[in-house]
């Protein structure tokens, strides 16, 4: 499950895209872990997350309280700025939940967040990109949106359809982004970033 890795984007776009995930290690610290996952999500929700989720729920398919109440095995929270990530890490360090915490995002920025929160990185996972028959891929601008759902539940054609609806005035970028976010089962899709990307794709006259 590398569902938050391989997010495609520019340095500028990715500077507003962080996912913090909290996970129990099966057979080691899973006893009572659901309550700790719920606490993780409660801490996250104090810092204006753009999305939260667990295995089968996100805050656009369910109410946030339902997501928190049903957290199981892994939980995620999406943020659009480094300051929120740092503050959540500080509070998680203090809460000492004992579950593993992983931050997905621009590695140098995440390292800064760790240092400011008094943490040291333990293990790092790099993305070495996409190999093989890359001519089968949709455009890069579509991939910037679709790769925010690592399980690929957001289809390229749906992104293009949303862009067409925005151009026609049938949808606005924010609403379209939230609709896309609802299909990402575990809530790692960043609708704030998606709204900006959809607006850019729709044309210069569209504001996110």
């Amino acid at each position: 499950m590398t569902h938050t890795l391989h997010r495609i984007g520019t340095a500028d776009g990715l500077s507003g895209d962080y996912v913090i995930l909290c996970m129990r290690a099966a057979g080691i610290n899973d006893v009572g872990s659901d309550a700790k996952l719920q606490e993780f999500l409660r801490i996250a929700t104090d810092h204006d997350p753009k999305n939260i989720g667990s295995v089968r729920m996100n805050m656009f398919s369910h109410k946030p309280a339902e997501v928190i109440a049903n957290a199981h095995s892994i939980a995620h929270a999406v943020f659009d700025n480094q300051q929120a990530v740092t503050q959540v890490l500080r509070e998680l360090k203090q809460a000492d939940l004992g579950l593993s915490i992983v931050v997905s995002g621009v590695l140098d920025s995440v390292n800064e967040c760790c240092q400011q929160a008094g943490l040291k990185r333990h293990t790092v996972e790099f993305s070495l990109g996409i190999w093989g028959m890359t001519d089968k891929l949709p455009s890069n601008e579509v991939l910037e949106v679709t790769t925010m759902c690592g399980h690929a539940m957001v289809s390229p054609k749906l992104v293009e359809s949303m862009v067409a609806d925005i151009r026609k005035g049938a949808k606005n970028p924010d609403g379209a982004a939230k609709e896309l976010a609802s299909h990402c089962c575990c809530g790692v899709f960043n609708p704030a970033r998606a709204a900006r990307l959809l607006a850019e794709m729709a044309g210069p006259d569209i504001n996110p």
Binding site: T2, L5, N29, S104, R121, V124, E125, L158, S161
Partner: protein, 240 residues
């Protein structure tokens, strides 16, 4: 997944939702069964005004399509939940990856293209020849009839899934051989794959594999995943 032909009203609303582009519109909407990976997006989207989508769990080996493609489905055959394992996410606790060791994840079909297990088999065998140690709990490893050779069982090879992850590891001194072999086999698959590289940070925070990647002229994204070491109990050898 199939569409009830007596119910479909040919509105076409479902077509853009399919990640594989497997829904075709003619007089009515139909699903190309061979391309469909049973991910369930069309059904969960609840976009069909007449509820024409019908999903019945498929028998082996087609059952693999849903378990590898639908994140809400559990791996009944492999007894593992999800496409992959906890990999580095819980490494502070499990110690799955140690210093001097590099984890490589090769996710065939990602992003959004899909892959046949025939291509997964091809890449897994290339990694086995390079000295890979396959993650024993990975759903792909559990489909191997010969783990030493990276050989998948024949009855699964034609099945298509949204993605499947080969999870393996190498001593850091062998990573050059492995990534060179991966570059070669990339020319021989009918899909894409996303590659990840996992390593434990040195006490000073540095990552020795970064230098090797530069020497091999393999670029990495500026973004990635960082385990911040808050899990407890810490893995053996990591206690401080």
């Amino acid at each position: 997944m199939r569409i009830d032909e007596d119910s479909c009203i040919a509105c076409g609303l479902c077509v853009p939702y399919c990640p594989m582009g497997a829904i075709n519109m003619d007089d009515i909407a139909t699903i190309d069964e061979d391309e469909c990976i049973d991910c369930g997006v069309c059904l969960r989207a609840k976009v069909c005004p007449v509820d024409a989508f019908i999903y019945e769990p498929a028998p082996w080996p087609r059952s693999l399509r849903a378990v590898f493609s639908d994140p809400t489905t559990e791996h009944k055959e492999t007894t593992v939940t999800g496409r992959g394992t906890e990999e580095m996410k819980t490494n502070d606790v499990t110690g799955r990856f140690k210093r001097g060791w590099v984890g490589i994840g090769i996710e065939l079909g990602r992003p959004g293209v899909g892959a046949r297990f025939r291509d997964v088999d091809k890449v897994a065998q290339a990694m086995a020849r390079s000295g890979a140690r396959f993650e024993p709990n990975s759903p792909v490893t559990l489909l191997m009839e010969d783990v030493g050779a990276g050989k998948l069982r024949d009855d699964v090879l034609d099945e298509k899934v949204l993605s499947a992850i080969i999870e393996c590891g190498f001593p850091i001194e062998k990573i050059r051989i492995a990534l060179t072999a991966l570059k070669e086999v990339a020319q021989d698959v009918d899909t894409v794959f996303s590659v990840d590289c996992i390593s434990v940070a040195e006490p000073d925070g540095s990552l020795p594999v970064d230098k090797i990647l530069s020497e091999l002229e393999i670029s990495r994204y500026i973004n990635g995943k960082t385990n911040v070491g808050l899990g407890r109990p810490l893995a053996e050898g990591e206690r401080r």
